[in-house]
Symmetry: C2
Subunit: 353 residues, 2 copies
């Protein structure tokens, strides 16, 4: 490390709604949970196959969940990983002590997370606050890393994006899309560089992320794009009503990016620290047409804080009220049958060093 210092001043401030109230992420993350359950078997199988388990070197087995939010999904993942590692131990091996690190940005509600950690568990708990686009752990100390539906969060909205009439790159012009994809490239490079340093030689990394097949960037291509389009229209409605300024809506852009498999593979290859042992499309649970209230509650848990920071606290209630109204009046406004977004499951192995 030497003269290097760890600076968090530039950390991303994005986080989910904390606590465990009706609008909290803790109570509105069933979608993410469904994904984890569908990935469970695959993850267990691949850990069994690829973990180089050495009980002498692994008296402490470190697991890190990146972008954990406030649980409870993070606890489920950790239990699955531990079960897989335990299966990998031979009867004569001493089972290692599991040290589990929950990571999220500094503004995440860790107080709630700690209260929700299962009282009886097989692991020691720690938290690592800070942006996962930077170093969080000492070199070569993490055995298994996990990151689920968090990597679409950009560390920042691309600079100087002129995106009038929209709040996201879906459906936007080439320049806007390019600005978003460049930001994603920078962020993924930073993420992979940091994890490459932190993982032990042969360490494993499981990523679940939302992506699109190559070339799909229209709002109508995805339920996500459509949801952002509707949310944008609600904000412009409120601007027309004089409740917020149109310039403020023009200047508001959601810091989310959904890569294609080609982009992902290219980024992992360019980084060079990891080999892709498996890449699978898990499908899109969203296709099952959740009811309007669920859709809005989920959006609010994820995006509520961003809206509040940009427009002020007062308008959040009304925006989501308008949003729900639109969904209820036109139940087919979001068409879930032709959507291109998919969950990608990636299983990476840290190359030997």
């Amino acid at each position: 490390m030497g003269e290097e210092s760890f600076n968090t001043a530039a950390s991303s401030k994005h986080h989910m709604i904390g606590g465990d109230g009706p609008n909290s992420y803790a109570r509105n993350s069933a979608y993410q949970k469904e994904l984890l359950v569908s990935a469970e078997g695959l993850m267990q199988e691949l850990i069994w196959k690829h973990l180089n388990f050495d009980p002498e070197k692994m008296k402490t087995f470190r697991i890190a969940d990146f972008g954990c939010s406030v649980g409870p999904n993070a606890f489920l993942v950790v239990e699955n990983i531990i079960a897989a590692v335990e299966k990998r131990c031979k009867p004569e091996d001493e089972v290692p002590e599991f040290h589990v690190f929950f990571n999220d940005v500094i503004s995440n509600d860790f107080n709630t997370l700690f209260k929700l950690v299962p009282a009886s568990r097989k692991y020691l708990v720690a938290a690592a606050p800070g942006s996962f686009h930077s170093r969080l752990f000492p070199k070569g100390t993490i055995h298994i890393a996990h990151c689920s539906t968090a990597l679409h969060w950009l560390s920042r909205v691309p600079e100087k994006v002129c995106n009038r009439g929209r709040i996201h790159y879906s459906g936007a012009g080439k320049e806007v899309i390019k600005a978003y994809s460049c930001q994603y490239e920078r962020d993924m490079e930073a993420f992979l560089r940091a994890r490459g340093d932190e993982l032990v030689s042969g360490g494993l990394m499981v990523l679940l992320l939302i992506g699109f097949p190559d070339g799909y960037t229209l709002a109508s291509d995805s339920s996500i794009g459509q949801a952002f389009h509707i949310l944008g229209s609600c904000l412009y409605d409120m601007a027309k009503m004089g409740k917020i300024s149109e310039e403020d809506v023009d200047g508001f852009n959601l810091p989310f990016y959904y890569p294609s498999p080609t982009e992902l593979k290219a980024l992992i290859e360019a980084n060079g620290a990891f080999s892709v042992e498996r890449m699978v499309e898990l499908g899109a649970p969203m296709r099952r047409n959740p009811d309007a209230t669920t859709v809005v509650a989920h959006l609010r848990a994820v995006i509520g804080v961003l809206l509040q920071e940009h427009f002020g606290k007062e308008i959040v209630e009304e925006v989501f009220h308008l949003h729900l109204d639109k969904l209820l009046k036109k139940p087919n406004i979001v068409d879930h049958t032709h959507h291109k977004e998919t969950i990608y499951f990636l299983f990476l192995k840290r190359n030997s060093y």
Copy 2:
């Protein structure tokens, strides 16, 4: 670890007032800071002398602060420890990466702590939530442990203590004192057992704790005892006014214990994992007669949560108002000139294993 599981259900819930408002611990911990400054030189000297620094084995150097509260004192301590370790490195050594764990009970305000961690620093930050009377870290992973003015917190008020007319053991009968000292014995045994497991062979532990010379247990022996006596009298005054019930005050006991050097040495010896490399009396900064407002603000930051949990939120303001009133009306009610309480600085080394 095997079938062992880490259960936090029985964790102590005691914690300081969070946030950084006027009543917060963050703003009312100047007394604790003064102690740390007075111990700094000694700590640096002893780390230099006793640290078995092996750059090959210590690429990651782990430091844990037990009972960190919400800072900022914890950051000061950590910086001092790191400076001492760096001095110990030879010019040809690679400076290790420092991984610093901040520990306190689950109900501690970690959100505030994380926001206060210096943005620019030489270490990676982690938190370990949970009672320090239990295991928090994997075996043999901590190089230097630190715990400052936190070990007087008992994990619980001694059971079945009948302590009418008082809220603490100071000035109480033999039975009450015995119950408190037994609880302290159990808690220190648990603390030393856990730290003995967690520290590396040859690891160091710095303890700063408030204690009394042998045989002093009268309320009048200490400014602490006197402060608790006045606080108790305020609570009984409120009972007389009918604002709380006398039974409730009888049933309220402060979970603090201040050991003698003889007790401390006996407990460390009985545990057997540590050798006492140095034990020094640092004196009592309280002797300098702080003004009444400071005394009450400090008491409130430490004891406010306990009062609130036992009596309800409404009465806290009034109790401390009464307390301040008594101090202002009788400035000599607390006599700081004859006090027996002292800060003990203990420097322990984990015996080889």
